[in-house]
């Protein structure tokens, strides 16, 4: 098999940082705050590199959308073993409203342009917890999707994916080209070792604009307010006592190991 894999990597506020809401409630403080690659994206990169090492894949391309700083995130992917990077330049107002819809349109366009056979993404980002980009990308491309993957195997030109679902584990077989989203137990991302970090400096990162890909960046969502969790006081209306308390327990942290993704991914914002 000599497939080309596209891996999406998102630059997010580091998992361990204490999030602070801006005084004007328009968002969270990001200036001077430590950022790093979304943990699920790391798992996605690791899976792509593993597939390359198993010789199922011939090239791994790391993609990230955002301002200049996302190049660091792409470099990290390169240091882990990706072959080249694509930086889709999005800044200013467009970056503030950048969400799964725009990113999935960009990824779909890139997949066609680069003739990718497989797209691997993290299942969700730890800042917005949307869990939508993979699914939307597959729909736009009309490709099959294997989401919440905890195991991926290539069998001829099919992909066997073991998915983590509420009831346990579900195994599906999907045809390539396909979209896979990585869940926590898919693998343990490797440390980028120094020789690879040095090599990564020489790997290419191409710059692309959304307009070049014919993507409309306008957003259909308007964020009204961001408030600290303590002030939220359970903004979700449900008619099931137990369910509402389950939702109120959710925090702005990535889904921890051991729990399957719950059906309602909302939080008091």
């Amino acid at each position: 098999m000599s497939a080309r894999v596209l891996v999406g990597v998102k630059r997010v506020i580091d998992y361990a940082v204490k999030i602070r809401v801006k005084p004007d409630h328009t968002g969270v403080v990001t200036d001077g705050v430590k950022h790093s690659m979304n943990p699920f994206c790391e798992i996605a990169v690791e899976e792509a590199v593993k597939l390359k090492e198993k010789k199922f894949v011939k090239e791994v391309v790391a993609v990230s959308c955002g301002p200049q700083q996302v190049q660091e995130t792409i470099r990290t992917a390169l240091a882990m073993g990706a072959d080249r990077g694509i930086h889709v330049e999005v800044s200013g107002k467009d970056y503030e409203t950048l969400g799964p819809l725009q990113v999935s349109k960009i990824l779909a366009a890139l997949a066609k342009k680069e003739q990718a056979d497989l797209i691997i993404l993290g299942k969700q980002a730890i800042d917005d917890d949307c869990n939508q980009t993979g699914q939307m990308t597959a729909a736009l491309l009309d490709w099959p999707q294997g989401t919440f993957a905890s195991e991926v195997n290539i069998e001829a030109d099919m992909l066997k994916v073991v998915r983590e679902v509420d009831g346990g584990l579900e195994t599906i077989k999907i045809k390539l080209p396909a979209v896979v989203t990585a869940d926590l137990r898919l693998n343990t991302p490797r440390y980028a070792t120094l020789p690879n970090i040095m090599k990564a400096k020489k790997k290419k990162i191409a710059n692309v604009k959304p307009a070049d890909l014919g993507v409309d960046m306008s957003s259909r969502l308007e964020v009204l307010k961001n408030i600290e969790e303590a002030d939220a006081g359970g903004a979700v209306q449900t008619n099931t006592e137990g369910l509402s308390s389950l939702v109120m327990e959710q925090t702005l942290r990535p889904v921890k190991s051991g729990s399957a993704p719950s059906p309602i991914q909302t939080r008091p914002m």
């Binding site: 580091d14 998992y15 361990a16 940082v17 790093s36 343990t188 440390y191 070792t193 120094l194 970090i197």
Partner: protein, 533 residues
């Protein structure tokens, strides 16, 4: 033999009595029973000589016989209960954990645990105990590694657990004033919210008290950058043996008015006074922290990497630690941690802390490129994110834990000229051969401090006899310290002569006699047994 010359002052007449008592140990038992203490008391009844039992040339770490302090009576308990209602503990189940040290190698028989909340209460306790001739064992977090934090016999345990208030913090000068029972990690968290950090950091931070840190002059992982407590502690409040409270809680960076008394108490291990409050100078929290984990093929290369590091990272270097391949295999075997890089004979943990992330990363990457291209280092990885930094640090911080799973551990904390550090490990390996299960070396190589650990499946007196005093003689030959940062406590008190001349030790005895004439503060610790002669 050097051993007997060194111990010429110890009562040698005990040697033969000693060898008849097989249950004697150096106090190191994995099961944590009161062997040394109880057996010494039993033997005291059996043997004719009441003096000279206890430490011997073959067993200098064991407990001496009980000195003639008073025993706790009902009147004493009544006094304590009135002074500290609800905070005078006599329940043996509750006392158990305070009577045993963290390593579970020494156990005392205290029947009373006192928990004062204020300096005034400590003052009254000590005044009373001094009058009644009752021995007192001050106790902080009980994380000491030399048996200095637990009673040997029935000393009253004076715990600082409830003296955990921060008194004040000045965010311009960075001076923190707090009670002695504040847990180090809590102080770190308090300061981090205010953009500062504690000048020291150690593996025991979740349990140790700042008063205990000061009393043992703890070193730790940040000493390379911020210096020792002797520089960062600006003032102390200490209660003396007779109950007088000495308030030297200055919050001044510079104060040259008279003798600097606080230096006497720092590192005195609770034998000269009980520290009740500390004022300490805290550095600003660094904006950018990076950790690099490197692998070297030889110790010589490690040292050259250190020199290169000093030159290229200089002002941003905040830690330089090492561990050897044996440590890594123990971490992999017992704690299931993964080695992030290729297997190497030596591993280095380098931490940088600075005010500008971009500048620091540039410096770090230049340094890493240099050591990689010149082949000083054969592999490595870097971390800038908090979770990855924690993961890399745990490879160094959890070696002590991994060792506890490997069997019985003999621990040595040695200061040596930095070039000689690993020679001792290799020498011990050759010297012990098959007697030892594992001989590992790790530690604060940047400060010239080696943690030499030797494991065996179970306690082995022949192994111990092969290790000691060989290791101490070796250290002494290179003018090193037999206890770099752990202190002397109970276990190492009689080894003091390997690193200090007898005149110095005699002077220490005079100071002790002056400040604590009845010797009630933490007896049997720090100073050698023959100081009483």
């Amino acid at each position: 033999m050097g051993m007997f010359q060194r111990f010429a002052r110890l009562p040698l007449k005990s040697t033969y009595i000693w060898s008849l008592c097989p249950q004697y140990s150096t106090g190191l038992t994995a099961a944590g029973r009161a062997l040394i203490v109880r057996s010494s008391q039993q033997i005291q009844h059996r043997c004719v000589h009441s003096r000279g039992l206890g430490a011997s040339p073959g067993n200098p770490g064991a407990a001496p016989p009980r000195l003639p302090f008073s025993r706790v009576t009902q009147e004493d308990l009544a006094f304590f209960r009135t002074l500290l209602p609800g905070r005078t503990i006599t329940d043996p189940d509750l006392l158990k954990s305070n009577n045993v040290d963290w390593l579970k190698t020494v156990e005392g028989n205290s029947e009373v645990l006192l928990r004062p909340k204020t300096t005034e209460e400590v003052s009254q306790i000590l005044r009373y105990c001094n009058e009644r001739n009752l021995a007192v064992c001050p106790q902080g977090g009980n994380t000491g590694l030399v048996g200095g934090s637990v009673p040997v016999f029935d000393e009253i345990i004076l715990s600082t657990a409830l003296m955990n208030q921060v008194i004040s913090f000045n965010n311009i000068s960075g001076i923190l004033t707090c009670q002695a029972g504040c847990v180090l990690e809590n102080l770190s968290n308090y300061l981090e919210e205010r953009d500062f950090i504690m000048p020291l950091d150690l593996g025991a931070k979740g349990s140790c008290h700042i008063g205990g840190n000061v009393s043992t002059n703890a070193g730790g992982l940040r000493l390379l950058r911020y210096g020792s407590l002797r520089g960062t502690v600006l003032g102390l409040e200490v209660v003396l043996a007779d109950g007088r409270a000495l308030n030297c809680l200055a919050t001044l960076r510079k104060d040259n008015t008279g003798y600097d008394l606080k230096q006497l108490f720092i590192g005195s291990e609770g034998t000269l006074g009980v520290v009740t409050a500390v004022s300490i100078l805290c550095p600003r929290k660094p904006k950018a922290v990076n950790v690099a984990f490197l692998g070297c093929s030889s110790f010589q290369q490690l040292l050259e990497t250190f020199q290169c590091c000093r030159g290229m990272l200089g002002e941003i270097l905040s830690a330089f630690e090492f561990l050897d391949a044996s440590c890594m295999s123990l971490l992999e075997k017992h704690l299931k941690l993964t080695n992030p890089i290729t297997e190497s004979p030596f591993y280095i943990v380098i931490e940088t802390a600075g005010s500008n992330a971009t500048h620091d990363e540039e410096k770090l990457h230049k340094f890493l490129e240099e050591v990689m291209t010149s082949s000083l280092v054969n592999d490595g990885t870097v971390a800038t994110e908090a979770t990855k930094i924690k993961a890399l640090w745990s490879l160094r911080e959890r070696v002590t834990e991994a060792l506890t799973h490997d069997g019985y551990t003999y621990k040595y904390d040695i200061s040596l000229p930095v070039e000689k550090i690993y020679d001792l490990v290799q020498d011990m390996r050759g010297h012990l051969g098959d007697m030892a299960k594992n001989v590992v070396g790790y530690g604060h190589v940047g400060d010239g401090n080696l943690h030499l650990n030797i494991t065996s499946p179970s306690k082995d007196p022949t192994l111990l006899a092969a290790i000691e005093p060989y290791v101490y003689n070796w250290t002494s030959e290179w003018k090193g310290s037999i206890s770099a940062e752990h202190g002397l406590g109970l276990k190492k008190r009689n080894y003091i002569y390997y690193s200090k001349p007898s005149e110095a030790v005699a002077l220490m005895g005079s100071i002790k006699a002056m400040l604590d004439p009845k010797g009630i503060l933490n007896p049997y610790k720090t100073l050698p047994d023959n100081i009483h002669e």
